[in-house]
């Protein structure tokens, strides 16, 4: 769902930015100023004993005390390990299935309704189901995160394969490529699509990882958030929100960096 919007948006922006009144681009960084001012006002004029809106400096104290208890880094590591494993497995499964489904031309009609239904199942509802069937463990988290984040990769790969340039598909036929060579040519040309899928899937995988930890109290950053909420430790809740934001930022920058480097090595993209 999300992948397709960003696809549309990117496409239409590319075609029309020169001729639109907004112009091109990334929002300038000084746009962060309102947020910074807000935090500053909160810090200076906030009530130091507020339960609902603890001042920003108390967030930092909370993070620090988590670190001293030693739970901070082990939790981050647990979350990161689930996330990394899931995104790798999801990429492998998504690319394989996407390649297979993109190569059969009756697949669209027959499978679209099912795929549509499955990818729109909310991960939140699936977590308790997975927990009751598989038990509360890392394997369960992996299954759920892979199940939720595989769709953007699968669909993006499939549409990349279905929209291969006619020249390329007829070359594949004419050269009678088959087996591994055919697959490698197809993966190569679908690479931008695969990477687009991964870029959409990565933030989703992080959210579902946190969600699984949060709902089942499986150790990780999500479980830290849950226990902070249950203890009404509001400063810690805000601090962990900040941490989750930082994690999301890190994930996004890593994925963008990988995407850029792969595409650079792969050569100019002509889509």
């Amino acid at each position: 769902m999300t992948q397709q919007t960003s696809n549309t948006q990117a496409g239409s922006t590319r075609n029309s930015y020169r001729k639109s009144h907004g112009g091109k681009g990334v929002a300038p960084l000084f746009g962060l100023l309102p947020l910074a001012v807000l935090l500053l006002i909160w810090q200076i004029f906030g009530n130091p004993h507020s339960v609902f809106f603890p001042q920003p400096n108390r967030w930092l104290t909370a993070i620090n005390s988590l670190q001293q208890q030693g739970t901070l880094w082990t939790s981050i590591l647990a979350t990161a390990s689930t996330f990394v494993q899931s995104i790798i497995v999801a990429t492998l499964i998504g690319t394989t299935l996407g390649l297979a489904l993109g190569s059969i031309n009756w697949g669209g009609k027959a499978l679209d309704p099912l795929l549509d239904f499955l990818r729109n199942l909310p991960a939140a509802a699936l977590v308790p189901a997975a927990a009751i069937v598989l038990g509360t463990n890392t394997k369960m988290a992996l299954v759920i995160v892979v199940f939720s984040s595989v769709w953007p990769i699968l669909l993006s790969t499939r549409s990349a394969i279905m929209n291969l340039s006619p020249v390329l598909s007829s070359s594949i036929t004419n050269l009678r490529l088959s087996g591994p060579r055919r697959t490698s040519v197809m993966i190569g040309s679908a690479l931008p699509g695969i990477l687009l899928g991964v870029r959409v899937a990565a933030p989703l995988a992080l959210i579902v990882t946190l969600l699984a930890e949060f709902i089942t109290n499986l150790s990780g950053v999500g479980a830290l958030i849950l226990s902070a909420q249950q203890n009404f430790n509001s400063a810690e809740v805000y601090a962990l929100l900040l941490l989750a934001g930082v994690l999301a930022l890190v994930v996004n920058s890593i994925v963008s960096a990988i995407e850029a480097s792969v595409l650079r090595r792969h050569g100019p993209v002509t889509t």
């Binding site: 919007t5 009609k109 309704p113 969600l211």
Partner: protein
């Protein structure tokens, strides 16, 4: 309905049917062995039970209603703020980075903040649902408005339209397809986040029923509710696309559903 369309529908039922039959068989012959993994027949039976007791109707009505209220609030706010930010270039430069930071905060980490402020109340469900839905609407409205072609604005200037007229007759219609995509994404998100806040602790709706079924060790009922959440999301999406097709020309609705 045109024949090819009906054909697609018929074909579309084949894959789910095969999947369900495989699911049933693999449990029956012992290929899959989990203590609490229900068969499709058990799920259907549980669905029948909750439908008969009225719990299904009550919970679904609650969740759908809350999600729609949250979505409506988010849509009004998102489009309004999006129009303002998209129309003014200095304002866009001044606040867009802040908006980008706020919207990329993982929403699941915000749920506990909501719990601390509102407790497990109806307000929590609505606020969380609306907060999740506002970002795609807002961001797509900004994008849509900023994509308005300069020629179109020139036409407005030439015809000496007032600013309000230009917005109503030129900018808004030309950005509508992109805004509609945002609204559609928002609808899905508000449903999901409503269910999340129910799972986390609000004592109403599908999410709560799902967790109660888990704690009572009724996997059949649990999977029945998951099926219902999936169907509700599917139907809301379908209704939205159908409405979009009625209210806007065919070319646009194709873009919305893409």
């Amino acid at each position: 309905m045109a024949p090819p369309n009906r054909q697609i529908r018929l074909i579309g039922w084949i894959a789910p049917t095969i999947l369900v039959v495989l699911w049933q068989l693999s449990i029956d012959i012992g290929l899959i062995r989990f203590r609490y993994f229900p068969t499709p027949v058990a799920v259907a039976r549980a669905l029948y039970t909750i439908a008969l007791s009225g719990a299904l109707y009550k919970n679904t009505a609650h969740t759908v209603l809350v999600a729609l209220i949250a979505w409506a609030i988010a849509s009004v706010l998102g489009v309004a703020v999006g129009l303002v930010v998209g129309l003014s270039v200095p304002l866009w430069k001044g606040v867009m980075a802040s908006i980008d930071v706020l919207r990329s905060l993982p929403i699941i980490a915000l749920v506990p903040v909501g719990v601390i402020i509102f407790g497990f109340t109806l307000k929590l469900e609505i606020v969380i649902g609306a907060y999740a839905a506002i970002w795609p609407t807002l961001v797509n409205t900004v994008t849509g408005v900023r994509q308005t072609r300069i020629e179109l604005l020139d036409v407005g200037k030439m015809l000496r339209m007032s600013a309000l007229e230009r917005l109503r007759k030129l900018i808004f219609p030309s950005s509508l397809p992109v805004i509609m995509v945002g609204l559609r994404l928002g609808l899905g998100l508000s449903l999901v986040l409503t269910v999340v806040s129910e799972i986390v602790g609000t004592p109403h709706g599908i999410g709560n029923a799902l967790i109660s079924a888990e704690q009572a060790l009724h996997p059949g009922q649990m999977f029945a509710y998951i099926l219902v959440v999936g169907l509700v999301g599917y139907l809301l999406n379908g209704v939205f696309l159908y409405a979009a097709r009625i209210f806007s020309p065919s070319e646009r609705s194709r873009e919305i559903s893409r």
